[in-house]
């Protein structure tokens, strides 16, 4: 658009110089300046590290180009079982988080009881508890000699099932860390559904299930997608809980990556691992961004 004012054949005959200092140009310059910090942040915190890790992951020990690190990632039995384990854990945790968070959000939106009020006040507390502390709390609660085991001892002499150092423990940790945020996102989406729309549907004879499927679900679907994105990325990148209460093998990718990097000093494999994780996250992010763009159109 600026290009038009530059062409000399324009009837106004304005020269180039004053147009450069026009109000619009000044404003766009200001905008540019304001965008710069986040641009540099993006550049140095995201773009540059991505390229260095891609570069690092394609380098062998002799410094030459090689696909070996990626081959190792998918052929080494320990590594590939870790990858499968991580993906399995991510999918299962994410579905469980979303289902529970959605039910909780629906309950909070439509229930006027005292219970709903209390849950509304308390449900985001886990977000404010540091992950290390929460993880140790989990060990105390679900551990072999934990509170739950002691309570169970009152009823049965059967040995307590293994939760900590197991898949189940990681699942519980993921629920703890992710449900509050997902619930927050979903309940804000649900609270923006006007009561009038629901009442209107009721008036024309829609049942509860129909209202849910025709009105509530479509209106909160976008937020669900947003929540899913964050939950998947949060789970796949988790480290503290899996490190402290995860099984020794197979490991979650974050733990495996740390081990490759700082125990075995295999920078290339660790980088390949990071790139792989990034690829999964960008895939999830892609669906999210695409759906956002669709809406804008």
């Amino acid at each position: 658009m600026n290009g038009q004012s530059v062409t000399p054949s324009l009837p106004t005959g304005k020269s180039l110089k004053p147009s450069m200092f026009s109000r619009g140009a000044r404003r766009s310059a200001l905008g540019l300046v304001m965008v710069l910090p986040s641009f540099f942040l993006l550049l140095f915190m995201i773009v540059v590290p991505i390229f260095t890790s891609i570069q690092e992951s394609l380098k062998g020990n002799d410094g030459n180009f090689t696909w070996d690190n990626y081959k190792y990632l998918f052929t080494d039995p320990a590594m590939s079982s870790s990858i499968k384990y991580t993906i399995h854990l991510t999918v299962v945790s994410s579905i469980m988080v979303l289902v529970i968070a959605y039910l909780l959000a629906v309950f909070l939106r439509f229930s006027t009881g005292r219970l709903a009020k209390w849950i509304e006040r308390l449900y985001y507390i886990p977000m404010f508890i540091p992950s290390v502390i929460a993880t140790y709390g989990m060990i105390n609660m679900y551990g072999n000699h934990g509170w739950l085991a002691r309570i169970m001892l009152l009823f049965t002499n059967e040995p307590f099932m293994r939760i900590i150092y197991d898949y189940k423990g990681l699942l519980l940790a993921n629920l703890w860390f992710n449900i509050p945020f997902a619930t927050m996102l979903l309940s804000s989406a649900l609270s923006s559904i006007p009561n009038s729309a629901i009442e209107g549907a009721k008036d024309v004879g829609a049942g509860k299930i129909q209202i849910f499927i025709r009105i509530i679900l479509p209106l909160s679907f976008k937020s669900m997608l947003v929540a899913a994105t964050f939950v998947v990325m949060g789970v796949i990148g988790s480290f503290t809980a899996p490190f402290l209460i995860g099984p020794n093998a197979p490991q979650v990718l974050g733990v495996a990556m740390q081990q490759q990097f700082s125990v075995y000093f295999e920078t290339g494999i660790a980088s390949a691992c990071a790139v792989f994780m990034f690829a999964i996250c960008s895939l999830v992010g892609y669906f999210y961004i695409r759906s956002m763009m669709k809406e804008e159109r």
Binding site: L41, L42, M45, I46, V48, P49, I50, T52, S53, E56, P77, A78, S81, I139, G143, N144, H145, R162, Y165, L185, S188, A189, S191, S192, K222, S223, V226, T229, F230, M233, G234, G237, F243, L244, P247, N248, A249, P250, G254, M257, Q259, F261, V263, Y264, F265, T267, A270, S271, A274, V275, M277, F278, C281, S282, G285, Y288, I289, M292, E295
Partner: protein
């Protein structure tokens, strides 16, 4: 609808930030090794009023930092000729850079370096010294208190450093459940098999006590010199050791759960989930003293001993303030300073127990100070890797 679109914007921002977090992790790979000792001091010299300042570079955990802060204070209160400037490099943040700097200065033919005293780390630094001879040889004329030490300890490090403290991995056990602790490695294996689920060692890649158990098992039937060999061909001879570890795993805590970090197993011992673990002497003693471990917890060493190691003080040959550094080392070896080592970080004293205060002698009566130092360099990483693929994921 406004809220939704608000979240949309926020969502994008959060998406970007979380992407940033991921790539930060990835970015670590290329940034490691940049943490060089930029905390160098240009003015670690005479301070004008007749006193000398020595620059002391050390690294370690927070307890070590506190110990040195305390010793410096004691020392400077005692005399006013020498001041100590502590340069602390948290462990894992480029402690190697100090040594690299000393060696580089030597190779570049410089005649000074601004490191007057350096807490060396056992194997690699002493090997580097053999090649470039960067440390001063120490004797009793320079540091009279060396006479309080067991001469063999100075022999071990070729008189190039002072082992001023040590710690080792021991068996920590619950004496209420275990009346007679195993005395040898074979007895320990038998005990583990007889008491399934009551023994745990931590993932060797996450802490020295678990690593010590693994290495001691791997080198069980190998010749004594093997623990100082960095020759990769020895890796084949680990096979029986790994077979043993695999065999043991079904009788380990929860049929083969190896907690993370040294503290992971100590926690299990503390709440009674297991009865015996390998543990670092200093960690176990400190937690016993703070009542974090039950009073029934006792410590014992087996034969052959688990690994351990000394903390070493070395004086670079190019230091400009050697005399002052000797004087400080002499103070560190005095019984009063050694008592602080015992009391503050629960290390074993560098000088012989006979010179230590009576009440400390009584307190640590039953704790043996035997240990073996493994010096196998990069082989440790190979062992961890094999442990992960063969023992952890069997």
């Amino acid at each position: 609808m406004r809220i939704i679109s608000g979240f949309k914007q926020k969502g994008k921002l959060l998406l970007l930030t979380s992407l940033a977090a991921f790539t930060l992790l990835a970015g670590c790979s290329s940034n490691a090794g940049n943490g060089d000792g930029s905390a160098s001091s240009k003015d670690a010299s005479a301070t004008g009023n007749g006193s000398t300042e020595i620059a002391f570079y050390f690294s370690g955990s927070q307890n070590v930092q506190e110990l040195w802060g305390h010793l410096k204070e004691m020392y400077e209160k005692k005399q006013d000729k020498v001041k100590v400037k502590l340069v602390y490099i948290p462990s894992g943040q480029g402690e190697q850079a100090t040594m690299n700097r000393i060696v580089a200065a030597k190779r570049a033919g410089k005649d000074t370096v601004d490191v007057d005293l350096y807490e060396a780390n056992g194997g690699p630094d002493l090997i580097a010294d053999k090649k470039d001879s960067v440390f001063e040889a120490l004797n009793e004329q320079q540091i009279p208190n060396l006479s309080l030490m067991n001469p063999a300890n100075m022999e071990d490090v070729g008189h190039k450093a002072v082992p001023y403290r040590s710690s080792s991995v021991l068996l920590a056990y619950n004496s209420a459940k275990v009346s007679a602790p195993p005395k040898t490695l074979d007895e320990l294996y038998d005990w583990i098999h007889q008491h399934p689920g009551r023994f745990a060692y931590n993932d060797p890649s996450t802490g020295g006590s678990g690593s010590s158990f693994v290495m001691t098992t791997l080198y069980k039937s190998l010749p004594e010199e093997a623990i100082h060999s960095q020759d990769e061909s020895i890796v084949q001879q680990w096979d029986p050791g790994f077979a043993k570890l695999k065999e043991l795993s079904k009788d380990m805590y929860q049929q083969g759960v190896y907690p993370k970090k040294n503290q992971g197993t100590l926690d299990l011992l503390a709440n009674g989930e297991v009865d015996m673990i390998p543990a670092w002497s200093d960690m176990a003693l400190e937690q016993l003293n703070k009542k974090l471990l039950p009073d029934t917890t006792k410590l014992a060493q087996i034969e052959p001993a688990f690994t351990g190691g000394p903390g070493l003080l070395a004086v670079p040959t190019m230091s400009q303030h050697k005399e002052a550094a000797y004087d400080f080392i002499n103070f560190v070896l005095s019984p009063e300073a050694q008592a602080e080592v015992v009391n503050q970080i629960y290390g074993f004293p560098g000088i012989e127990w006979t010179h230590m205060p009576e009440e400390l002698k009584k307190k640590f009566d039953n704790v043996s100070v035997d240990y073996r130092s493994f010096n196998i360099g990069e082989l440790g990483a190979i062992a961890n890797k094999r442990w992960q693929s063969e023992v952890a994921s069997q």
